[in-house]
C-alpha cells in the first residue's frame, strides 16, 4: 500500500521550500521531495527574493543574512564602469565615455523604473486576467506598446552610444533566452529594473552560504522533507494528478503536486507532449583555492561582454547547436572561494566533451580579469537551464505560467516566473493558487 499526502512538492530549492512552507502553514499534509542528499543553495548567481516571503516566513529571524545586497553592475573593459543605484555616480562614470550617455542615463533609469513600478503589480500579484496596460492612460499605453514590440538592440542603440555600456545592458536583455532583436527583449530590461527597484534590497543579493536554504528549511514547519527521493513518473488519471513514482520503486498518492522542475521536464514526467527549448543558460560554479584572491571589490555583478554585436551572433550559433565563439557572461562571488558564472545562450544539449570545452572557454574568458584562475581551480560544476521565453510569457497573467494541462499539477520553478529568477515568488503563488482551489 502506497503512502498518501495532501500535497507533494518536487524539488527543495527556493521555490519548492517556499511552496511547502506555505502549504504546511495552511494545515495541509505536505511532503517535499528532493532528489539530492540535502536542499542545496541556489546555483544561480543572484537572488531576487520576494520581500513578502522574507516577512511572512520570518526568514531573518531564522537565520537569513546577506553577504551582499543591491549589487551594482560592473562593466569590464579598459576603463571599468560601475553602474549602481546611485544615478549621479553612474552618470559621472559614463562621462568618461560619452557626454550624451552620461546625460541620458539618469533620465532613462528613472523612466525604466517608472515602467517597472507599473508592471510590478502585474508580474508579482495574481490578477485574474485582462492585459497589463488595461487601466493605463493612452500615452502610457503607447509607450508600453513600443517597449513591447522593440528589440533591446534597437531600443538601446537609439539611446546610448558607448559600446561597452550597450554590450552590458544587452546581457540583461538576453535573459530567458531572448534574442536581442526579438520583441520582448526590451521588456526584459524592465523586468530587471523591477527586481532592483527601491525598497527591494533583497534584489541582486547574495545570501551567506546556507542561510537562505537553512532559514527556509526551518520555516517548513509541519511539512516533511524527504531527501534522496527522485521522482521518475507523475501519474495522471482522467486529466488530474494522482501521485508520483520514486526512483526506489515506491509510490506516493497525492491530489496536488507542485513541481519546481522546468515545464518541459515536468510534462515529460507526466508523459505529456512538450517542446524542449533549443537554447539554454549555463550556470558554472568555480571553486577556487582559498589562497586565491577574487578581484571583486566592491562586490558587483561583473558583466563580460566585449561588443554589442556578440549577443546576436551567439544566439544564432547556439540555435544552430554550436558553442558560440564569443560568449557574453556574468560572474559574481557567491562565497569566499566560490565564483558563480552565468553564460548564455548555449545549445540546450551539450555532451561531456562539449561541457568541458565550454568550461575551458569560460575560464579563458575570465583569465584577463583574474590572473592565475586556471591554476587556482579546485572544482567546476556546470548546469544547463534550457529556456526560451517569449513576449507572450511576459504579458500573460502570472497564474497561467504556473498551470499545466493536468489538473492539480502546478509549476513553481524558475521558468514559472516571467523571466528566470531565484525569488520564491512562483512557489508562494503556487501555494496560494492551490489553497484557493
Amino acid at each position: 500500500m502506497s503512502e498518501r499526502a495532501a500535497a507533494l512538492v518536487i524539488g527543495a530549492g527556493v521555490g519548492g521550500l517556499s511552496a511547502a512552507a506555505y502549504l504546511a502553514r495552511a494545515g495541509l499534509h505536505t511532503l517535499l521531495l528532493e532528489a539530492g542528499q540535502a536542499p542545496r543553495d541556489p546555483d544561480g548567481a543572484l537572488i531576487a527574493l520576494d520581500p513578502r516571503i522574507v516577512t511572512e516566513l520570518r526568514l531573518t529571524a531564522s537565520g537569513l543574512s546577506f553577504a551582499a545586497r543591491d549589487l551594482p553592475m560592473a562593466v569590464a573593459g579598459d576603463m571599468p564602469l560601475l553602474l549602481g543605484r546611485d544615478l549621479y555616480a553612474a552618470s559621472t562614470a559614463l562621462a568618461k565615455f560619452s557626454d550624451a550617455d552620461a546625460l541620458g542615463w539618469p533620465t532613462w533609469r528613472r523612466r525604466l523604473t517608472a515602467e517597472a513600478r507599473r508592471l510590478r503589480r502585474w508580474w508579482w500579484t495574481a490578477p485574474a486576467d485582462g492585459a497589463p496596460d488595461a487601466a493605463w492612460s493612452a500615452g502610457a499605453r503607447e509607450n508600453f506598446r513600443h517597449l513591447c514590440f522593440s528589440g533591446a538592440d534597437a531600443y538601446l542603440r537609439a539611446r546610448f552610444e558607448t559600446p561597452s555600456l550597450l554590450a552590458a545592458l544587452l546581457w540583461d536583455a538576453g535573459a530567458g533566452g531572448f534574442a536581442v532583436s526579438e520583441p520582448g527583449s526590451a521588456l526584459a530590461l524592465v523586468w530587471r529594473a523591477a527586481q532592483e527597484m527601491g525598497g527591494l534590497q533583497e534584489a541582486a543579493a547574495i545570501a551567506h552560504p546556507g542561510t537562505l536554504i537553512g532559514s527556509l528549511t526551518r520555516a517548513l514547519g509541519m511539512a516533511q522533507l524527504r531527501t534522496g527521493a527522485r521522482v521518475t513518473r507523475i501519474f495522471t488519471k482522467s486529466g488530474g494528478v494522482t501521485g508520483v513514482a520514486l526512483a526506489d520503486g515506491s509510490e506516493i498518492e497525492a491530489d496536488h503536486i507542485v513541481s519546481t522542475l522546468s515545464r518541459a521536464k515536468t510534462l515529460a514526467l507526466a508523459g505529456l507532449p512538450h517542446i524542449a527549448p533549443s537554447i539554454a543558460e549555463a550556470r558554472i560554479l568555480l571553486r577556487v583555492a582559498p589562497a586565491f584572491a577574487i578581484p571583486d571589490s566592491p562586490p558587483a555583478r561583473h558583466i563580460l561582454a566585449g561588443r554589442p554585436g556578440m549577443h546576436a551572433d551567439a544566439h544564432e550559433a547556439a540555435r544552430a547547436g554550436r558553442i558560440p565563439v564569443d560568449l557574453p557572461l556574468e560572474w559574481v562571488t557567491m562565497a569566499p572561494g566560490l565564483i558563480s558564472v552565468t553564460t548564455r545562450p548555449v545549445p540546450a544539449s551539450l555532451d561531456g566533451q562539449e561541457r568541458l570545452k565550454l568550461a575551458a572557454k569560460v575560464v579563458l574568458a575570465l583569465s584577463p580579469a583574474m590572473p592565475g584562475l586556471a591554476d587556482a581551480l579546485v572544482h567546476v560544476d556546470i548546469r544547463l537551464k534550457p529556456q526560451r521565453t517569449r513576449l507572450a510569457d511576459l504579458l500573460a497573467p502570472p497564474p497561467s505560467r504556473l498551470l499545466t494541462p493536468v489538473k492539480g499539477l502546478l509549476l513553481a520553478g524558475e521558468d514559472a516566473e516571467p523571466l528566470p529568477s531565484i525569488s520564491g515568488r512562483a512557489g508562494r503563488l503556487a501555494a496560494r493558487l492551490l489553497l484557493s482551489s
Binding site: 493605463w136 492612460s137 493612452a138 500615452g139 499605453r141 506598446r145 513600443h146 514590440f149 522593440s150 528589440g151 534597437a154 531600443y155 542603440r157 537609439a158 534574442a179 532583436s181 526579438e182 520583441p183 520582448g184 554585436g309 546576436a312 551572433d313 544564432e316 550559433a317 540555435r319 544552430a320 517569449r390 513576449l391 507572450a392
Partner: protein
C-alpha cells in the same frame, strides 16, 4: 503656376497618389529623376532578347481598389492563404481609415483620447516565420530575416506575390503610369528634387536640380523616411524630434540579384529555394559576404515566355543577407563576380547543367539598388520589417510639417500593398484639405 500637389517619385506609390488626387479633380505633378516612370516596376534587357526585372520578380499585391482604378493587369505568383489575406486586408483597411481621419488637434487631446484598438496583424509580432513553411522561401528571398526569431512572421504581410501578366514588372509600371496620366496627372521625367520649399511653416513646393522650382500646396514624398527627412530639408528646417526619428529608423538592404540569360530552358520548372547555412546572419551583421546566403532561383520565363527569345530562357536568382557595405571596402567587380560564382556553384549542384547553358549574368548588389531606386542602403522595404517598425509603429502619412506627406514604403501602408502608401498619402492630403 501652382499645383495642388507635387509628388516626389514616379514609382507605384507616386503614380497611385497622382491618379487618386487627379481623379478627385486636383492638379497634380509627379517628379521623377529617372528617364522612365515605374521605379522598381522596371524591366531590363540585360542580354539581347533576354528581359528581367532588376529589383524584384514580384511585388506585394496591389490592393483591388487601386488595381481597378488604374486598370492594371496582374496575376498572383502564389496565392496568399485566406487567413493571412484577411489579416493583411484588415491592416490595410486600418491604415486607410487612419489616413482618411484627420487627427485630433493638440497634444493634450491626443494624450487623453481613448486608447486605440490594436492593429490587425499585431499578433504576428510574436510569431516566427518558420511556422509558415510554404511561404517561407518567398518571404525570406532577398531579406535578412531570421525565420526562427519572433516577429519574423510580420514580413508575411509584405509577401511579394503579384507580377505582370506579360512583359515583366516594367509592363506593370507602364500600366501605372498610363493610369495616372489618364486620370489627368502630369508626369515630368528627368526631374530630380533636391529640396522641399517651406513657406509659413508648411511645405509649399519643391526645388529641382536645375534650379527651377515647382510650387504646390502640398508635397508627397515617396522616398524612404531617412531620405525624405534628411536629404530633402536643410538641417535646421525640421524639428529635432523628426530628425531623431529619421536617424533611429533602421534600414538595411540585404538583396542581391543575378539575372541569368540561358541558351536553353532550365531543367527546373518551379522556383528553387536554398536556405542559408545558419551563419549568414552573422556574416551580414559583420559586413562579410556570407558563404551560403538564402537563395531563390526563379525560372521566370517559364511563366512569362515574352522574357526570353524562342528556345532560350531567362531566370533570376535572389540572394538574401548580402550586406550593403562590406567591412573590407566597396563592392569591387571582383567581389561581385565572386558572389555570382559562389551562388552559381550552389545552383549547379542543385540543378546540374545550368552552367553549361549560361550565356550571360547580370549582377545587382545592394549599392546598385540604392543608386537605382534612391533607397537608403538599398533597402527595398523602406525600413527593416521588425515589430517596432511595422503597423502602428510605422510612420503614418502625416508628418510634423503640415503639407508634407510620406507616401513610400516607409509609411504604414507601404509594406502591405503596392501603391497602398501612395493611396493613403493621397487620402490623408484630401482629408486635411477638406477641413
Amino acid at each position: 503656376m501652382r499645383y495642388d500637389a507635387a509628388i516626389i517619385g514616379a514609382g507605384a506609390d507616386g503614380l497611385t497618389a497622382a491618379a487618386t488626387l487627379a481623379k478627385a479633380g486636383l492638379k497634380v505633378v509627379v517628379l521623377e529623376r529617372a528617364p522612365k516612370a515605374g521605379g522598381r516596376l522596371a524591366t531590363l534587357e540585360f542580354h539581347p532578347g533576354h528581359f528581367a526585372s532588376p529589383y524584384a520578380d514580384a511585388v506585394p499585391e496591389v490592393p483591388l481598389a487601386i488595381a481597378r482604378a488604374l486598370g492594371l493587369d496582374l496575376k498572383p505568383v502564389q496565392a496568399l492563404p485566406d487567413g493571412l489575406r484577411a489579416t493583411r486586408d484588415a491592416a490595410l483597411a486600418r491604415a486607410f481609415a487612419e489616413a482618411m481621419e484627420a487627427p485630433a488637434a493638440g497634444t493634450l487631446a491626443r494624450w487623453l483620447a481613448p486608447p486605440p484598438e490594436p492593429w490587425p496583424g499585431e499578433d504576428l509580432a510574436a510569431a516566427e516565420l518558420s511556422s509558415w513553411p510554404a511561404l517561407r522561401s518567398r518571404t525570406l528571398a532577398g531579406r535578412a530575416l531570421d525565420p526562427e526569431l519572433a516577429g519574423s512572421a510580420l514580413a508575411l504581410l509584405s509577401l511579394p506575390l503579384s507580377e505582370a501578366a506579360s512583359g515583366g514588372l516594367g509592363a506593370l509600371g507602364e500600366d501605372f503610369a498610363e493610369g495616372a496620366e489618364a486620370a489627368g496627372a502630369e508626369i515630368r521625367l528627368r526631374r530630380e528634387v533636391v529640396e522641399v520649399v517651406i513657406a509659413e511653416a508648411r511645405a509649399a513646393g519643391v526645388a529641382l536640380t536645375d534650379g527651377s522650382r515647382v510650387m504646390a500646396k502640398a508635397v508627397i514624398s515617396t522616398l524612404d523616411l531617412r531620405r525624405s527627412l534628411s536629404s530633402l530639408f536643410p538641417r535646421t528646417a525640421l524639428p529635432a524630434h523628426m530628425l531623431e526619428n529619421a536617424r533611429n529608423w533602421r534600414m538595411a538592404g540585404a538583396t542581391a540579384r543575378l539575372l541569368l540569360a540561358l541558351r536553353r530552358p532550365l531543367r527546373r520548372e518551379t522556383p528553387l529555394f536554398l536556405s542559408g547555412d545558419g551563419m549568414a546572419g552573422t556574416a551580414f551583421r559583420h559586413g562579410r559576404m556570407p558563404e551560403a546566403p538564402p537563395l531563390l532561383l526563379d525560372p521566370v520565363s517559364r511563366r512569362d515566355p515574352s522574357l526570353a527569345p524562342d528556345g532560350a530562357a531567362t531566370a533570376t536568382v535572389t540572394l538574401g543577407n548580402i550586406p550593403h557595405r562590406l567591412f573590407d571596402g566597396g563592392w569591387t567587380p571582383e567581389k561581385r563576380t565572386a558572389l555570382a560564382a559562389h551562388a552559381l556553384a550552389r545552383i549547379e549542384k542543385a540543378v546540374p547543367g545550368t552552367l553549361a547553358i549560361l550565356a550571360s549574368v547580370k549582377i545587382i548588389v545592394p549599392p546598385d539598388m540604392e543608386s537605382g531606386l534612391a533607397a537608403t542602403a538599398g533597402d527595398l522595404d523602406g525600413g527593416v520589417l521588425a515589430p517596432d517598425q511595422m503597423l502602428s509603429l510605422r510612420p503614418g502619412p502625416r508628418t510634423a510639417l503640415s503639407g508634407f506627406y510620406l507616401g513610400g514604403r516607409s509609411a504604414q501602408a507601404g509594406p502591405l500593398g503596392t501603391g497602398a502608401a501612395g493611396f493613403a498619402a493621397a487620402a490623408a492630403l484630401m482629408a486635411d484639405g477638406a477641413r
